[in-house]
């Protein structure tokens, strides 16, 4: 097992190192699909409920549990499908080595983070999953791509900073008993800093999953960069944030206030993403807003789990995420074809509406799985309405794809890739449902359940039809909306602040200023010693 885990993390890194050598390096871009292979060896764990931990190297440990394995299985498959697709796309392309480097680094972190067992390795792998993504997004080199890359990188760096603060606090609160996630999380609920830690965790990982109002970078970055990159970033690496929430929210201790707030934030994000997505006319942006909406729902479920103290909420959310990983990745890959034939559109439609819980789809099983955690009553209704929102949004997406002008940019990705991803998603969901929920999959075929799942979709379809019939023109809002506005402000203000700091520095390093300051500090020193000292 240890060997498998090490291979999963190190194989992509080793391949990245191979890029350094000229003859072998040329092979690497062709083998991107092979890099995630070791992850598939861990696939069976997804069906087990057991938790085991391993010592990798020094204080670095790994933990393999159902939540991690579920995300790992889906992400591994997506990286593999995406990798084969990307290899084809890269053939003969300028910068193939460069792209492969960023790809492999991100891949290593993206998969590794699901099994990281202590705060240090989690932090390292999380960074690996987040920072090199810059290179994938900015790959095209255009102004827009670089801007998106910068915004993503800034979000990632700030997120890293918050997470580091949370991790150090956790370690300090654990009184130096160890760095294992289980150890530090055990001490959290009783700690006086619990509120701060949870805030840092939610904001830090919220940046990664695009929780409102931290979502601005997401539509920008998914709209930029090659499709294959957008596919794995939206499908797989965004789940690094999800596993962060799963691991670092104390789900086994009921925290009604914190949980309630996360629930509310997640649901708001779910609706916000659905509504704002409708204002977009780039299918990529629509998918990005759909991600905001979907990940918002996942956060909401975790919030509900935290409020009630449901330790199993992690696995359930991970199960729901499996569908999103592969399907969202698949839908991005589908955009490679400018005008898909009807059957493909229909298939894409079924997959897309799965996000809304279309009966019999894989997504529906995810919704069923978290029903108990999400609760009934008002929150249940809100989740159902979120599904309605998803329906409207996905129908909007399908219309855009269908209407895409023939001149739309094409990227030569293999046509089978997205279908494979979608099928894998559906298969995984159906075969895993029983293992995760303990309920036979046949449950999903009961009429009552079908109705329960179906009405929000039907309502959504009705709304979409009504909107179309009325010819309602929704306003066009720039991708990233208020977040993009915030990014624009930051882009304007940060250089100004930096210029100020530089000017301050230039002033400070003038001879006369520096020497005078030395005299001032000398005086100040003695004054502080003399006046404030107790002696």
């Amino acid at each position: 097992m240890i060997v498998t885990i090490m291979a999963m993390i190190l194989l992509p890194l080793a391949m990245a190192l191979l890029l350094l050598s000229a003859p072998l390096g040329r092979l690497v871009p062709r083998l991107l699909g092979v890099a995630p292979a070791p992850a598939l060896l861990l696939l069976p764990i997804a069906w087990e409920g057991s938790v085991s931990s391993y010592t990798l190297l020094g204080s670095w440990t790994a933990i393999v549990d159902q939540a991690g394995a579920l995300l790992l299985a889906a992400s591994g498959l997506l990286w593999m499908i995406g990798g084969f697709a990307a290899s084809q796309w890269l053939k003969g392309r300028e910068g193939a080595g460069r792209f492969s480097l960023w790809w492999l680094l991100t891949l290593s972190g993206s998969l590794g983070v699901f099994v990281a067992g202590d705060v240090v390795s989690f932090y390292a792998l999380y960074a690996l999953a987040s920072l090199p993504a810059y290179g994938l997004i900015a790959f095209g080199g255009g102004e827009e791509a670089q801007r998106a890359g910068r915004a993503t990188l800034a979000a990632a760096l700030i997120g890293e900073a918050l997470i580091l603060a949370a991790f150090v606090l956790l370690t300090v609160e654990a009184q130096g008993q160890g760095l294992a996630i289980a150890t530090v999380m055990h001490a959290l609920p009783a700690s006086p800093e619990a509120g701060l830690v949870i805030t840092l965790v939610v904001v830090g990982f919220g940046l990664k999953i695009g929780l409102f109002p931290l979502h601005g970078w997401m539509p920008m970055s998914y709209a930029a960069g090659p499709l294959a990159a957008a596919a794995v970033l939206s499908g797989a690496t965004s789940k690094a944030g999800l596993i962060g929430l799963i691991r670092f929210l104390p789900l086994d201790a009921p925290m009604p206030v914190a949980g309630g707030m996360i629930l509310a934030a997640g649901l708001f994000s779910a609706f916000y993403g659905a509504v704002l997505g409708l204002t977009q006319n780039n299918p990529r942006s629509v998918l990005a807003y759909s991600s905001i909406s979907q990940l918002g729902q996942m956060a909401a479920v975790l919030g509900a789990g935290l409020a009630a103290g449901v330790p199993g909420a992690g696995s359930i959310v991970a199960f729901y995420a499996v569908y999103h990983v592969l399907t969202k990745g698949g839908l991005f890959l589908m955009l490679a074809a400018a005008r898909p034939p009807l059957w493909q559109l229909l298939l894409a439609g079924v997959l897309a509406l799965g996000f809304a819980g279309l009966p019999l789809s894989g997504g529906a099983l995810g919704k069923l799985a978290f029903k108990d955690v999400a609760g009934s009553g008002v929150t249940g209704l809100l989740f159902a309405l979120a599904a309605t929102g998803s329906t409207v949004l996905m129908l909007h997406f399908l219309r855009l794809v269908k209407a895409a002008p023939a001149a739309a940019k094409q990227e030569p990705l293999p046509g089978w890739a997205w279908i494979a991803a979608g099928l894998a998603a559906t298969l995984l969901m159906w075969s895993l449902f029983g293992a995760v929920t303990g309920v036979a999959a046949g449950y999903a075929l009961k009429p009552g359940v079908l109705f329960e799942l179906g009405w929000p979709v039907a309502a959504g379809a009705a709304i979409a039809w009504a909107l179309a019939a009325a010819g309602t023109q929704l306003p066009r809002i720039e991708p990233g909306d208020v977040g993009a506005r915030a990014i624009a402000i930051a882009e304007r203000e940060a250089p100004r602040l930096a210029r100020l700091a530089t000017r301050f520095e230039i002033r400070a390093h003038q001879w006369q200023v520096s020497t005078l300051t030395l005299a001032v500090v000398l005086i100040l020193w003695v004054v502080l010693q003399g006046w404030l000292a107790p002696h």
């Binding site: 003038q510 006369q512 005078l516 005299a519 001032v520 000398l522 005086i523 003695v526």
Partner: protein, 312 residues
């Protein structure tokens, strides 16, 4: 009373002349005032019963340093001093903080621990072991000879620092002093007036420390300073920096010092300790070598980096 009066005048003159050298507009003026200040300072050292220091101050602190700065002032006299114009307010601010620093230090005179501490007694107590008569030399060559050894390395480094500034094509050539050979320059005036003063100090040193071995060190530096002036005046030619003989002269002192240090490992078994009864002869040997090296290094430091290979 007489003495106190003298001290008061001396202290005031030190402040006045020192301050003048700071505010003087013309750089050459400032430097010459500084040299005068150095001589006054030597007097102050005598008043503080530190004749060894007084000699060193006259020779190096005032003489050699002053000479270097005269050379520099002569060369850069034309600099416009076009720089950031500091506002009057900044001047005031600087003055305020400089004054605060001065007041702070001055006030410490009244708060230093009442019973003065001193190592005089321990120094004297063990001085006979070394056979030296001058306690200052005892500190320099016996108790803290490690400092003195490192100080020689510092001198070597200073030479490396100066030589680093040669142009590659000039390397191996002769340090350039030619520009300062105008017969009527201020420098020539100094070259004529300073040696007698230095000489007086040398005599005073010999007189004060008749039987004191430590005198040779200070004497060497004074003479080195005089040699520099002679060199500047063009009486003696400056050797090439690549000359093996010159290199030998440069490293002779430090080499002997190090060798005696290592000898300590052998004889009493401790680095920089002297074998029983051999302390004084070894120190004398060391001082002879050091005098040579110090004189040569000081001379070369003032001569500056080599200028041109074929100027000789």
């Amino acid at each position: 009373m007489m003495e106190t009066g003298f001290d008061v005048v001396l202290a005031l003159m030190l402040l006045g002349v020192g301050g003048w050298s700071i505010i003087a507009r013309n750089m050459m003026t400032a430097v010459i005032i500084f040299i005068a200040y150095g001589l006054l300072l030597s007097l102050a050292w005598v008043r503080l019963h530190a004749v060894d220091v007084s000699l060193t101050e006259a020779a190096i602190g005032s003489g050699a340093t002053g000479l270097l700065m005269v050379i520099a002032a002569h060369k850069v006299a034309g600099d416009s001093q076009r720089v950031v114009r500091l506002s009057r307010g900044f001047h005031v601010l600087a003055a305020v903080f400089a004054t605060l620093v001065a007041i702070g230090i001055a006030s410490l005179a009244f708060v230093l621990p009442g019973a003065p501490v001193s190592l005089a007694a321990p120094v004297l107590e063990r001085l006979p072991e070394s056979g030296l008569g001058n306690p200052v030399a005892g500190v320099l060559f016996v108790y803290r000879s490690f400092d003195t050894l490192l100080e020689k390395v510092v001198l070597l480094l200073a030479l490396i620092g100066v030589w680093a500034l040669a142009r590659d094509q000039d390397w191996g050539g002769v340090p350039g002093l030619r520009l300062f050979q105008h017969p009527h320059s201020v420098l020539m005036l100094l070259a004529r007036t300073l040696p007698p003063i230095g000489f007086v100090f040398a005599i005073y040193m010999t007189w004060a420390g008749a039987d004191v071995p430590g005198g040779a060190f200070q004497g060497g530096t004074v003479l080195a300073a005089m040699w520099i002036l002679v060199m500047v005046a063009g009486v003696r030619r400056v050797p090439r920096v690549s000359s093996p003989l010159l290199r030998l002269a440069i490293v002779a002192g430090p080499l002997v010092f190090l060798a005696i240090g290592f000898l300590g490992f052998v004889a009493p078994g401790v680095f920089l300790a002297y074998p029983d009864g051999l302390a004084k002869p070894l120190i004398v040997v060391m001082e002879v070598a050091l005098t040579l090296s110090i004189a040569v290094i000081l001379g070369l430091l003032i001569a500056g980096p080599p200028r041109a290979k074929d100027s000789a």
